[in-house]
Amino acid sequence: MIRHDFSGLWVYLSASPLLGLTLTLIAYLGAWQLHRRTGGHPLVNPVLIAVLVLVGVLWATDTPYETYFDGAQFVHFLLGPATVALAIPLYGQIQRLRAMAIPLGITLLCGAATAIVVAWGAGAVLGASEASLISLAPKSVTTPIAMAVAEALGGLPSLTAALVIMTGIFGAMVAQGLFRLLGTRDPAVQGFAMGLAAHGIGTARAFQISAETGAFAALAMATNGLLTALLTPWLLPWLSRWFA
């Protein structure tokens, strides 16, 4: 009888958006606590931990991703307004942006091209399929742009979304270690590199370092989004010829 009630409750809850939404917040808050308790260590990335926990729970309970997303979409939706809101910290750095426009533009071009060409080249040499390579090429930019680019060029948009998130997590985890190695101390340079290579997750990480780092990351993320959308279709024929 109790067993029957429980399964009835499970059937009810698993069909309602409440469960997916609550689970997302609990997984994230738990991951965030862990992140704080380790003193904000970059390797204890809250997105990575929350995703691993969620995938584990969904797999264990045999819940399809679509059912989960019915609830989680409310969180996902906020990405739109949050992206728009990035204009505000960006505006906070307007004096420095004006002064640094040309250096930032040159850096952007070099960094964006590096991200696309190296991703494609390394993937091709290691034997990834063409559809995977197209899905991989725009992985340094924010999810909606990367997915649109991949779809337009014949890649797999949802694979791109997964690769974009993995890139962001990886970039956020290793950036500070790499900067220490290279002797990069300027917060503007650190932020710009993080936003360029690791989009929103790199930007979220940059905001944890300082508001200035975050603002430059937001700028790099936005401008690299525009540039990669323009650059990838143009580079693609060259890439498939070079690495055929």
């Binding site: 590096t114 991703a119 649109a148 790499l178 990069t184």
Partner: protein, 116 residues
């Protein structure tokens, strides 16, 4: 706060409409951010409300990537057969992009600093 959220959504919607209407290959929110940035320049900065709401939204920006991140489970098959190539390409290219942009920007800023 309600004003600020509405404003953000209005700019997102405007970005969406312009992108679709003119066939610009950019997501609406990114265009919306550009429009809001221009509006802030014209108006001379955000009000207190907008500033506070933006801080709230951006304070936990990482949370917003979690639902899309869990979508990786949809690609278990492809990842199982190609994961070494994809992971290696991802790691190498992300490190390369970080290093190239940090070094290029540092070198240009240093030259400029010593030149002026």
């Amino acid at each position: 706060m309600l004003n600020a959220i509405t404003l953000l959504l209005v700019f997102q919607l405007a970005g969406e409409v312009i992108a679709r209407g003119l066939g610009i290959p950019l997501p609406g929110p990114v265009l919306g951010m550009a429009l809001l940035f221009v509006a802030l320049i014209l108006r001379g900065g955000p009000g207190k409300n907008l500033q506070a709401t933006a801080n709230g939204l951006l304070g936990h920006l990482s949370l917003l990537f979690v639902p899309a991140g869990a979508g990786i489970m949809l690609h278990a098959d492809r990842l199982a057969s190609e994961w070494q190539a994809l992971l290696a390409a991802l790691v190498i290219s992300t490190l390369a992009a970080l290093a190239v942009s940090a070094l290029v920007l540092t070198v240009i800023l240093r030259r400029r600093g010593s030149g002026s």
